[in-house]
Symmetry: D2
Subunit: 140 residues, 4 copies
Amino acid sequence: MQQPDESQLIRDETGTQTLIGYVVDISDGEQGRCFLDIGPQHTNRHGVLHGGIAAAMLDNACGCTGSLTVDKTGRAPFLTVSMTTHFIAPGRAGRVWATGTIKGGGRSILYIDGELRHEDGTLIATATGVFKRVPQEKLT
Amino acid sequence: MQQPDESQLIRDETGTQTLIGYVVDISDGEQGRCFLDIGPQHTNRHGVLHGGIAAAMLDNACGCTGSLTVDKTGRAPFLTVSMTTHFIAPGRAGRVWATGTIKGGGRSILYIDGELRHEDGTLIATATGVFKRVPQEKLT
Amino acid sequence: MQQPDESQLIRDETGTQTLIGYVVDISDGEQGRCFLDIGPQHTNRHGVLHGGIAAAMLDNACGCTGSLTVDKTGRAPFLTVSMTTHFIAPGRAGRVWATGTIKGGGRSILYIDGELRHEDGTLIATATGVFKRVPQEKLT
Amino acid sequence: MQQPDESQLIRDETGTQTLIGYVVDISDGEQGRCFLDIGPQHTNRHGVLHGGIAAAMLDNACGCTGSLTVDKTGRAPFLTVSMTTHFIAPGRAGRVWATGTIKGGGRSILYIDGELRHEDGTLIATATGVFKRVPQEKLT
């Protein structure tokens, strides 16, 4: 995957994003994505990507995919209702990408699936989640 | 919940643990637990605990609960096969505790559920996971 | 578990219920339950309770638990948004009971967990689901 | 989808299959599939396909997909460890097809996803499951 223009990357939007260091990419316009360069601060007991970091990335990529159904800023607020993550292969050093795909839903609830892949193509984890749009009246 | 003796707390075991700052507590001997004092570096777009941090804590508490079935060090290695997380209430500032409970399983696979609660008792998230013991021959 | 008064049992409410033969029990008033006497028509390749039948029972017990938050008829309509089922032990011949428990939620979404147990106490399967109340305006 | 040759259909293999009436189709050789003609005996309170029947079909299609990794009979035994089902759209009268796809795994555990679609193409439900091969020594 080619790295997009800096204007389409979201960095340091939240405390967690700054802490972990992943970058959200809205350049696709439909699929929310985020990438992370795995370092020693992202590893578990087995020396590979920690499941919680994998889950954080999948959650962000899927949530951002939901936001992109509202407008192109990728920032319209969605809540994660539930997420199931399958840990398929170890995430080794290098860059990993999480990508979201809308599977269905309606006005308030979206079903969004995610994949986390190493830049070499290896499928590290999948996610399948239920997301809920934050009603506008709650935002003001 | 009372904070246990320092000898039964595991700190900074992995890169992710140091980064996020949660503390694993094996004092119960059966239920693995971990706690975190939520700060701005753990929050999402809504200013509350990020789902990925919640998932990391639940994953650790459940995995540690699996390890405690092997020996009392809480460090016997387990892999997370899958985990479903339900995000039930926002995680606000303060200390949160994740706790694991064995639901079933056998020699190689364990079914472990987790709960993440604020110190005020609020249930923030639940998890239900499948964990796999790392075979001994793979460790040498 | 003692069998309740016939007036608190729901039989043959839907085509699927008649086909499979489970009985819904609203006598608890809070926890929806359903039971089934396992016969050869409920078995899989391994000669034990089929996962789909287990899922159907857990779905019904959880959905009924949601309905009981609305009124005591246990029939207020809820939709299953998602359900994760863990298959923990084989379901052998005899009576099995599914039971739902509310874990949280609000006006429109409920988080409901379920357990399926053999009458001898064995935990056969667990479920954790997201349920959505059918808005009243859609019912008329 | 075209209906395959009768020699590649599995009918009435288990009590549950006969009861519900779905047909397993191994003609693809890689993706296990099963189909069902929805009748009134498959419906829920809302008059559409019951979630338990949907789950049974997804479970079978995924399990059969696992079996096809062993040999072409589609009957090598697998156990369902866990399955998450998302209910995306109502299943209305007509034929529905469940299809499984391998996402990853190894010698003992397979990660298999499933889709349930109406013959008109509507995505009714998705599933993501963990399956475990039954060790040969347990079969004799």
